[in-house]
Amino acid sequence: MIKLVNVSKRYQDTVALKNFNLEIPEGMLLVLLGPSGCGKSTVIRLINRLIQPTSGEIYVNNKDIRHMEFSKLRRGIGYAIQNTGLFPHYNVYENIAVVPRLLKWKKYDIDQRVDTLLDLVGLNRNYKDKLPSELSGGEGQRVGVARALAADPAILLMDEPFGSLDPLNRERLQKEFYRIQKQLKKTVLFVTHDVEEAIRLADKIAVMRPGEIVSIGRPSDFIAEDKEGYIKEFLGSEYALKLLSRFMVQDVIDQRPVAVKNNVTVRHYFRINKESTVSNALSMMISKGARSLEVIDEKKRIGLIHFEDILMNVFGGEKNEKE
């Protein structure tokens, strides 16, 4: 649990945050979304006390962080940043083992933990001896995430962790982090300026403008944002399209029994994997000129996805019906 109450941060003559309030319940991934320089990173750095607030209170797990020791607070918070911040003179193993070693874990436990984490972030175990300079950007960032998770903290702070990766690697890591988060259910504050990234990962998105939060809600809530204004401008006119990448084909397909459909359909369909995103499906529909695609699960057909499914199921069918 993270809670900021009326937090302000002022530098000499600039105001980074004014009366900032935010609460992230246990197990939620909240994305702080906003343009560069709007104070997103300031929020993160306030929580692990890399900087001090000018006024206001911050609670982590119901404890006022001013009354906690620096080291105790920080060792309980995983921290991942854009340029990994990996120690160049430590190999992968030592980098991941930093916090467990500070917490004086036994060698055997650390060995076990490092293996577990390498598996979790999808790195081969024989990477342990490599130095950060020998890793690709994506690999380095995986190690960064593993290091943040090392001592199994309840809270993760992530400051544009995938920001410096190429689009392909970024998407791959987002997917894997999404999977990891579903599995571990950490309380995560994730900072980014990438709308699509926010859509893919967030349980809730808080849209920021310099110094303050403008709006907060689930990713699909923002689709109802009709007013012309800051939010709409920042999220972009293609927000609905981007939102499609949040959903998997298997989430929106027709739930009617497959057998019935098998009788009806005799014609040939293009195929799509059930774990592809809905945006992939739509893209395929457009490129193939088809209104329906066959959904497969390991070569086995499990149903059909229709253009109408996307319209109705993704963007809240009930809203359309009312109108």
């Binding site: 060792r75 918070i77 911040g85 990996l86 916090v99 300079s133």
Partner: protein, 244 residues
């Protein structure tokens, strides 16, 4: 990369062997030199070349160790927020110390410390500080802010950040500073002979006085070889500790 490592290692060993040869078997070199240079009446040093080498190396080792210790400490102190402003000032003083001619420092020290070992030690100590200080400060400054911040964010104390992250990362730069400081002191120590310091400098100073080139070379050749040996040894170490 690997090839370079072995090169410096071999060079170090060969230079060191040459150095040993020059202090133990200088008569062989002398015989060769006599072909080119007309010998003078031989000045006979009271100490053997080995004894002079021992004393030369001793004073350089002692003074450089002291300078390294002090310089690294000062550099670490400048990292603290309060001292941060002083970084330029401290470097300024060190650079100023460097610009005073060796002979002047030695002459200034003699009234206080007498002749021989002591004034030379202090002079070498002062000269040795700057290279190490400058390199350590540079080395610490080049560490990326991300790395420093990560270390803090993971709950390291300021002492742990320094000992586990900053100093190890600055170590190759510090080594380079130690190398420059040692080379400098090996040469400056010869000038120490003007205030009566025992070392290779005695041969050179006496050689100049008596216009005896062979005697000058008897001091100059071993000193040069010693300097080259140290240079090459530290190049090897720096390569070894530098991160790929």
């Amino acid at each position: 990369m690997k090839k370079n490592k072995t090169n410096f290692m071999i060079a170090t060993i060969m230079l060191f062997l040459l150095f040993l040869f020059s202090i133990f078997k200088f008569d062989v070199i002398e015989k060769l030199l006599i072909f080119a240079i007309k010998p003078k009446d031989f000045f006979v040093a009271r100490e053997s070349l080995f004894e002079l080498a021992r004393q030369h190396i001793f004073i350089v080792a002692v003074s450089s160790s002291l300078s390294v210790l002090i310089a690294v400490c000062i550099a670490i102190l400048t990292r603290f927020p309060i001292m941060n402003e002083l970084e330029e000032f401290i470097l300024g003083i060190a650079i100023f110390g460097q610009t005073i001619p060796t002979v002047a420092i030695l002459a200034l020290l003699v009234p206080f410390l007498g002749y021989g070992f002591k004034p030379a030690l202090v002079a070498l100590f002062i000269y040795g500080i700057l290279p190490v200080l400058r390199n350590t400060i540079e080395g610490l400054n080049t560490i990326s802010e991300d790395v420093r911040e990560s270390a803090r964010a993971m709950g390291m104390s300021p002492f742990q950040v320094m000992s586990k992250v900053e100093l190890p990362l600055a170590f190759p730069a510090i080594l380079a500073g130690v190398r420059v400081s040692l080379i400098l002191n090996i040469s400056v120590a010869t000038i120490g002979a003007t205030v009566g310091l025992k070392g290779f400098g005695i041969l050179i100073v006496n050689g100049i006085r008596s216009d005896d080139i062979i005697l000058i070379l008897k001091g100059a050749i071993p000193v040069s070889l010693l300097a080259l040996t140290v240079e090459s040894l530290f190049m090897h170490l720096e390569k070894k500790f530098r991160l790929p």
